[in-house]
């Protein structure tokens, strides 16, 4: 009968280890002793361990003394905003990177398309592209990237 008791004790100990260190310093010994008494009374070790696990989760979620709930909420909000900002940045730079890597740098750069004058008889209104705007939009891009973007704009125009 020694092995099951040891197993029960280990189960409760594992649950107690889920508590923050400051809690364990304060209540750890007493909590282990209380668990032993409850097991001796016939309470299942699993339910005791479960109770401690739930208590540990609650303990981690409760702000420690000296830190108000609003401080914790503000920290969580700031972290969420930072994550969102980073995700937005990654999403914004991904297409630019993809354009830079899918085009082979060894390919010949096609000649620039000159805008057609409105008097050329085209039925469509033609708006010429402005390469300057492209360079402003991607300040970190190198010169070869710039050419690629110019090309892309030229095609779409």
């Amino acid at each position: 009968m020694r092995a099951p008791k040891a197993q029960e004790g280990r189960l409760v100990d594992a649950a107690l280890h889920c508590y923050p260190a400051r809690w364990r310093r304060r209540h750890g010994g007493e909590a282990a002793e209380l668990a032993a008494l409850l097991i001796r009374d016939g309470n299942p070790a699993a339910s005791i361990a479960w109770s401690y696990l739930v208590g540990a989760a609650r303990e981690w979620l409760t702000p420690p003394p000296g830190r108000s709930l609003s401080t914790v909420a503000a920290a969580l909000l700031a972290a969420t905003c930072l994550l969102g900002f980073s995700a937005a940045l990654v999403a914004e730079t991904a297409p630019a990177k993809a354009a830079g890597t899918t085009q082979s740098p060894s390919l010949p750069i096609p000649p620039k398309i000159k805008p057609m004058p409105p008097s050329a008889g085209s039925p469509h209104q033609f708006t010429p592209c402005h390469p300057r705007q492209v360079t402003d939009a991607i300040p970190a891009a190198g010169h070869s990237h710039l050419s690629l973007h110019e090309t892309a704009h030229a095609r779409s125009c």
Partner: protein
């Protein structure tokens, strides 16, 4: 301040109220608290719930821990704790009386 606002135990949960009621007749440690609550309320407090409630009540200044004997910390109700329990029990009594009266009047 209304009576409802004075009742600080309104939001602390049932376990905390049961612990305060148990401590009202003298200091007890964890195991004795669980046994006592089981006896007078028929509620089996889990040890995790017990320590959570004890910490909350201590933070609110409604109970205090006494020097440990061996590894056990006895807890004692404080004067603000006793006052808060009185207010809460009065509030429960009013609700209970109103409920009983209405049940009688309604013939349910």
């Amino acid at each position: 301040m209304t009576t409802r606002e004075q009742d600080v135990l309104r939001r602390v949960g049932e376990a905390s109220v049961l612990i305060l009621v148990s401590l009202a007749d003298g200091p007890k440690h964890g195991y004795a608290l669980i046994q006592d609550v089981k006896q007078f309320a028929g509620v089996e407090l889990g040890p995790g719930t017990l320590y959570g409630a004890l910490d909350r009540l201590e933070r609110l200044g409604l109970i205090e821990s006494l020097p440990a004997s061996e590894r056990r910390h006895p807890y004692r109700i404080t004067a603000p704790g006793a006052a808060a329990l009185r207010v809460h029990l009065d509030s429960l009594e009013r609700v209970s009386a109103a409920g009983r009266l209405r049940l009688r009047l309604g013939g349910v």
